[in-house]
Structures are given as structure tokens and as C-alpha cells.
Symmetry: C2
DNA sequence: TTCCGTGCAAACAATTTGCAATAGA
DNA sequence: TCTATTGCAAATTGTTTGCACGGAA
């Protein structure tokens, strides 16, 4: 059940002077085993399946540690709580602000916009940390025919 | 001091069955007189210059009313509280997640990306409500030479 | 043995809500 | 008058923090 990514992350924690605790391993395993982006609450629930007594504050502190070590990151999908994922392939999210559905798009999608804004303003956009928001195809259609 | 936009907004409130109160007028005037996007707190402070006793809950309720009537909208500039502005010309914000500086860009900037995403996924992005985040020119440079 | 990590409860910021008092139309 | 609006205080949500105890190294 424990993948190489988990072991690698534990090793980074150790070599940074941190301790490899049961709770931290459990958080990493949950993130590793879950393709979705989870809220701190959802991580806590998942961890509790095997370790019923973890405190939510510990989850937050662990996620913060993982982010400091660049082992995990949080993203904002529109309104609502932050969502967490292990470091890995970069992709971006389009979030429907009507129904909440999420479409994932590859990083390269933003290359033209990125170049354009960089040339025009010197600003280097990163649509990763904050997602793009709008209307999904279904909701556009629903609005159009109303 | 009281512009046509203020009168027009008051009129919309009235014709929707709402009452034109002193507090509501003051909120609209503050938004109208301020080119920036203000937080609810900042609106409250500005309103208190002329009406020292407005309650923050009233500010929130007024802003919510204005949004329901499409007279004002809130935007999210990265982390931090929502910011409010009267309805008007559409532009978008690039927010530096390092130093917090904000660059405004015209709506048309996003036309190519919009078309591309619409064709590829049917998703209609609206970079207005949530801003784009990244690094401003100065912070990119600062990182590069570190 | 030494600190680091954790649980717990309290603090926090931004916002929302219930309810009785008040003030527009 | 009659009901929308307000003030006030308390509740909510997501997250952070102080402190004393307990467990990795």
C-alpha cells in the first residue's frame, strides 16, 4: 500500500531534520492514494479510517510542513476551503461557479496567454494556485435556454 | 457630490421594492467615489466618515443587496477578503502572490484563451470574479537574481 | 535524554444570522 | 400604519496558535 512517493516524502522530512511520525505518514498516504484534491477536513476523515484519534490541528500542521518542503501544495477551486495534493504533474482547473464541476486542462493550454501577458506587462501568471472560474458547458446551455 | 450613478442605483432599489435608506445611499456613494476595489471593512470605515454609527452587518447586507440587483459585484484578488465595486467597465486583475501588487488588464486580453477553452472544453471562463495570480515583473526579477 | 510533535482549547478573520427595536413609504 | 431595515450579539466556517504532555531519535 505504501508507494515510493510516500517513502521519498518521508525521507525528505527526515533529512530536513523532521521526524517521521505515524500521523505524517498517514497524511502522505492519503494524499498519495487519492487522485482528487482533498480539503483538510477530508484528509482528516480519511486518516481517521486507520488512526481514529488524529487532531485536525495536526492535519493542518502536517499539510503546512509538506508545503514548506514542496512535497504538497494547496489550490483554491473557487469559493470554499483550500484543497491539497502531492507535488506532481502540473495541470490546471476550470471551476464552474454555478454547479461546482471541475475541468482539468494541461499546463500548455496557457502558454499563449502567458507569453502575451509577460510581453505586455512583465507579469508571469500561474493559474495553478488559484483556478480559473466560469461556466461549464452544461450551465452555459442551461442559462442560454432559460 | 452625488452622481447620476448613485441616483440610478437608488432608483433601482426603490423600483425593486426596497427602501432608500441613509445607510444604503452612503454605501453606494463610497463605492461610486472610489476607483479602487474596497473590502467590506474599508467601505464601513469610509461610510463612518459621514455616518459614524453604521454597523458592519448593515454594510454586508447592503453589499449583498447591491449584488443581487447587479448594481455592484465582489471580486477575489488572491488571498484575503472580498473586494467590492460598482457595476461598470469590465477589466481583470493580475495579482502578485508575493508582493500583492495588482495589474489591471482589459477584457479583450482574454479573448484568445476564452475561445480556445470554449472550443476545447465548452467551458466559458470569466476571469472577472476571480483574478489571475502569479508574479509581477519586479518579483520575477527578484527571484531570478536571488 | 532531548527536543519535536501532538492534543486540546481558545483565538482568529471574514462573514452570516436571529431577534427585537426602529424607521421608511 | 405596516413591513423593510437596522443594531447587537451570537453563531459559523476555515484555519492558526499557546501550552503542557508524550513520543521519536
Amino acid at each position: 500500500m505504501s508507494s515510493q512517493r510516500v517513502e521519498a516524502a518521508i525521507e525528505v522530512i527526515r533529512s530536513s531534520g523532521g521526524r517521521a511520525t505515524v500521523d505524517r505518514r498517514a497524511v502522505i498516504e492519503v494524499l498519495d492514494g487519492n487522485p482528487d484534491h482533498l480539503t483538510a477536513d477530508e484528509v482528516a476523515d480519511a486518516v481517521r479510517a486507520s488512526h481514529p484519534d488524529v487532531n485536525l490541528a495536526t492535519i493542518y500542521r502536517t499539510l503546512e510542513l509538506l508545503e514548506r518542503l514542496e512535497l504538497a501544495f494547496h489550490v483554491h477551486l473557487g469559493h470554499g476551503p483550500s484543497r491539497w495534493h502531492l507535488a506532481g504533474e502540473v495541470h490546471h482547473h476550470l471551476v464552474c461557479e454555478r454547479c461546482g464541476s471541475v475541468v482539468e486542462v494541461p499546463d500548455a493550454t496557457f502558454d499563449p496567454l502567458r507569453r502575451q501577458l509577460l510581453d505586455a506587462t512583465g507579469f508571469a501568471v500561474d493559474p495553478h494556485h488559484f483556478s480559473l472560474v466560469g461556466r461549464c458547458a452544461d450551465c452555459v446551455e442551461r442559462d442560454r435556454t432559460r
